[in-house]
Symmetry: C2
Subunit: 373 residues, 2 copies
């Protein structure tokens, strides 16, 4: 292998593939990146056996080939080089020679035959979606998945394609977030899967803010997110993950549809008041919300710390009500709402409540109150 | 106590006094800040018994008094409030009532009589120095002090006032940094002290970039740095620390004065080449510098990682020489040098070397090479 590539392009690619590389004591080959030639591209791949990433960048290929070298080491090393053209050349004994201006370096690598094969999705069906819409939706949902592995199906993110809509859902049984995205084309048949949270976060990390199209390839146990820039035939990134087996709970049942009280509030002010009150909420993380006729009161108290009270003007419909929440769940929901006003729907003192952005019907955040002792 | 103060002023003061507050299980009163009235100022004090900080801000005093409340809690709480006027009022049972717009809060505090007394420097002699010069000098020296407590005198920063010069010195026995600052007035008698590294870093953190005068008050076992803004009669901050007992080593003896080789190099390029080579330096952290006629070569090698070689053009005077260093010590020194060119003076293969900024005679960094096996 002998190639020339710009430092920036190599660095950007390595920064991405190294994300899923850890310190793997039982299978040290996984600490490495596979660097290879493909047409007029330099390809970089990494895998931790649960997730794999492939990325391509334009390069001048003088001689085809592939090498396997430590991913994090190569990434820090390339970052330290001047912003110029870099020559990469395969040498004897799995060594990679790297030259850049006055720098001449040799990195000890491994046999490329030992690098694990990354699954092939050639004949899989796929669905196309605008990448920015996908990432914006994922961002509003991904953090909410359960951290516990006792119910593996809710530890992942649920993707459900029905006709021309994709619903992305996550819950940890205390709260639930659902984002509905409309697509340009309808799917041929309804399809759904549960993606583990970690690769879902990688998709977001890697693809966020990129303009283009993401194709989602689906196999029975695996999924691939393939991003291509507009008007570019070769994909730029592929993120491949195993799926979580099992049925996602029928979450739509728990979303309340009748409400005792509905309030419209300024989102930022409500968020700030909850943050201030949270400091006084003590070990139970409990804050009390009182919806009055034209204002909402936020209150928290702890005998060792003191107490906090504040109020915010509101448009209230329905009954006056007093209801307690874990402040973290309210803050998480409000942070995912981007509109200036938020609609807060309360079904009853002990039932699920809903937070929604005013003016956006695609998102909802369901949160359970704290039951009064 | 009843006072009104702007949120920004209160927040800025608390951000500073909370720096030295930890979680003190044996003496929990030290987790608090003392808030008190003094003329038309609000004063804030904290102490960890080794270091104390006092800070003042303008306030509208309606009723004199003092309160003691948890420092870190009050600081996060005040940060969360709107950017407006804040009312602070002492209530029964050591409670502090705080009101800001729609926020009404009560914080449980402690008996202010239990707060430790902070030493008084009324009759101590003092030396005046331009605050920016003091901080710039301290910044070039403070990190170099020894982290080991086996020789307490070199774990601190040495301040030595002789005539119209202040020398600030630190060493860990592998390298040494000295900064000489010229003052407007000569001291009446030569005086020196050893300040522990932590409060020296606090002085830097708190006073860096502030325009004004710092008075250094010296008592046999304690020192106070008192900063005042220009044309302002009341001091803004006081930082008080105990001193380290013992004699500082006669460090001037080890600074070489005769050199086999002297090199002038571009500082940034040299620093980058050392950083790149450092990745290949392995467990010994060793890199080899070869000074040739018109260039300097930087080399590192490790059998498991690979090898790195680069070169930089130089003005060399004296003999060609090959000499090895711990890369960390070179990087630390180069980072403290702000000029675009650096003078590198090598006495002999195994003797102390010097790094100096070209065009600034006030600073020098002495570094020991690695002895060849």
């Amino acid at each position: 292998m002998k190639i020339e590539v710009l430092k920036e392009n190599l660095k950007n690619g390595l920064n991405i593939v190294e994300k899923i590389v850890g310190k793997n004591l039982s299978l040290p080959i996984l600490d490495n990146v596979l660097i290879y030639t493909e047409d007029n591209f330099l390809g970089m791949s990494s895998t931790n056996l649960e997730t794999a990433i492939k990325i391509w960048t334009l390069a001048k290929i003088t001689k085809k080939g592939k090498v396997v070298v430590p991913a994090k080491f190569l990434s820090s090393f390339v970052s330290s080089l001047p912003n110029e053209k870099i020559l990469l050349e395969e040498k004897n004994n799995n060594k990679l020679y790297i030259e850049c201006k006055s720098y001449k370096n040799e990195i000890q690598g491994f046999n490329s035959e030992d690098f694990p094969l990354i699954p092939d999705f050639k004949d899989a069906e796929f669905i196309e979606i605008d990448n920015k819409k996908l990432c914006q939706g994922l961002e509003q949902v991904v953090d909410i998945a359960s951290l516990s592995q006792s119910r593996p199906e809710i530890s992942g993110i649920y993707f459900s394609f029905i006709k021309n809509a994709l619903k992305i859902v996550a819950t940890d049984s205390f709260r639930l977030a659902e984002k509905k995205i409309l697509m340009d084309k309808s799917v041929e048949r309804n399809i759904s899967f549960i993606l583990p949270q970690k690769p879902a976060k990688e998709v977001l990390n890697i693809l966020q803010d990129k303009e283009g199209i993401t194709k989602i390839y689906i196999l029975p146990n695996q999924v691939m997110f393939e991003f291509s820039m507009k008007d570019f035939s070769h994909p730029q990134v592929q993120i491949i993950s195993r799926l979580i087996e099992g049925e996602y709970p029928n979450y739509e049942e728990i979303i309340p549809t009748k409400f005792k009280t509905q309030i419209i509030l300024k989102r930022d002010e409500f968020l700030n008041q909850i943050k201030t009150a949270s400091l006084f909420s003590g070990k139970l993380s409990e804050i009390k919300i009182t919806a009055k006729n034209k204002e909402v009161e936020v209150f928290a108290q702890d005998s060792e710390i003191g107490q906090s009270q504040s109020s915010i003007s509101s448009k209230t419909e329905g009954e006056e009500i007093e209801i307690s929440f874990n402040y973290k769940f309210l803050i998480d929901g409000l942070l995912k709402i981007k509109s200036s006003e938020v609609l807060f729907q309360i079904s009853r003192e002990e039932g699920a409540c809903i937070l929604k952005p005013v003016g956006d019907t695609g998102y909802l955040y369901v949160v359970m109150p704290i039951k009064s002792a």
